[in-house]
Symmetry: C2
Subunit: 236 residues, 2 copies
């Protein structure tokens, strides 16, 4: 598990010759950011590759009509949308900061040059991109193949597994946000939680007790090819 907040210790830089690492860091900055900050807007052309050192960022998609949904959360120590930065294409999402966080900023051009010059760095970037691609595919399968209640149930099961507590799950942010991540309204999320009480869960604020995981699983048919978090054996 990654715990460090020092830029030098980023998995991205693992195995890099020290000279290249200092090279990259010489032109980089660390930004400490308070909750509520918008890192960039959708449509912006990336100037920097942002990398989460501590805390997290949330990526939102907005429609022309102004509706806004959470697409995903990026946690330390990952890159924030390298797909946009490396191609120079405009961001498809807005990034906001939900908690006090620190980011490493590397000039986009500098990173591109370094990736082109250094196979190890390229390898790490490929790992991050691939991982993020797979998360999007999982989310699409989740949206297209399951009902709202199934999504909620599987979300809880995945959460409890990720948190190492088989008998409960602690919601990582407001229910309204989780609802939009799951592609439903907050009201429907609330009702889904109520109806899953029949399947052995109990809601207490942000904590959901899972009294009978097998029964819950029977109701929502979790699937490792949708809910699984890839084993992170590929260097990021």
């Amino acid at each position: 598990m990654y715990e460090g907040a020092a830029p030098e210790e980023l998995p991205l830089f693992r195995g890099l010759p020290a000279s290249r690492r200092t090279d990259l860091l010489r032109n980089a900055m660390v930004h400490s950011v308070s909750p509520g900050t918008v890192l960039f807007e959708q449509g912006d052309v990336p100037n920097f590759q942002l990398i989460v050192l501590t805390g997290s960022a949330q990526l939102f998609g907005r429609s022309a009509e102004g509706r806004e949904v959470l697409i995903e959360a990026v946690r330390a120590p990952d890159l924030i949308i390298p797909a946009a930065v490396l191609t120079g294409a405009p961001y498809l999402m807005q990034a906001r900061v939900p908690e006090p966080s620190r980011f490493l900023l590397i000039h986009a051009a500098v990173l591109r040059a370094a990736v082109d010059a250094d196979p190890l760095l390229a390898h790490a970037v490929i790992g991050s991109l691939a991982h993020q691609f797979r998360r999007m595919v999982r989310q699409i399968k989740n949206l297209k193949l399951r009902t709202a209640t199934q999504r909620v149930g599987c979300y809880l099961l995945a959460l409890s597994k990720r948190q190492g507590t088989p008998d409960r799950a602690v919601l990582p942010f407001e229910k309204t946000l989780i609802a939009s991540e799951l592609g439903i309204t907050r009201e429907s999320f609330s009702r889904a939680l109520s109806s899953l009480a029949q399947s052995g869960i109990r809601v207490d604020g942000q904590t959901i007790a899972i009294l009978d995981a097998p029964r819950l699983a029977a109701e929502c048919t979790p699937d490792p090819l949708i809910d699984g978090a890839d084993a992170e054996d590929f260097a990021i």
Copy 2:
């Protein structure tokens, strides 16, 4: 526009030293495949990187209950899910071939080694991965932010633009498949097309006439950050 079917001319190999290219191709194979063939199942561990030389492949997601939806189509000259091949993680989708097609097969291990050794190849792979990631993000925004009818209308507009015929769009495959790509049933797709007649479209088999593009656009509010196909200025 890419037209070639010869492996040596793949954009993936552009700029590569001839020695490296022949190196990769020495261990590669070309498969000619007939419609209906399943290239791999979801859950399989990738052995080869498949690359579309001519024709296309369709990627399907399946639920535990057996429901199946089209996630996306991959057309020449792109890589088929490099995210799985390069990480060695199991495929999240099944790949099927809808038309006579030819594929280049490169051993996964060989490709990984080559990518680690060759910055230009790595650059091309990064471009493909980034592009595919962005397509998935667009699809998620499409699913979460729009109604079924809006998705259908924007799909038609994007199609007509891509085909260079502002006054019509020709559906690239069966309506049932397109419906599942758009996350709706075939019945709903049919009804959406009917109701869009009010917005100036006419359906004739696989061809949809667009009599009044501005009016159609007004109904579905297309958005380049959802419907746009990235400019392909980044080498694939």
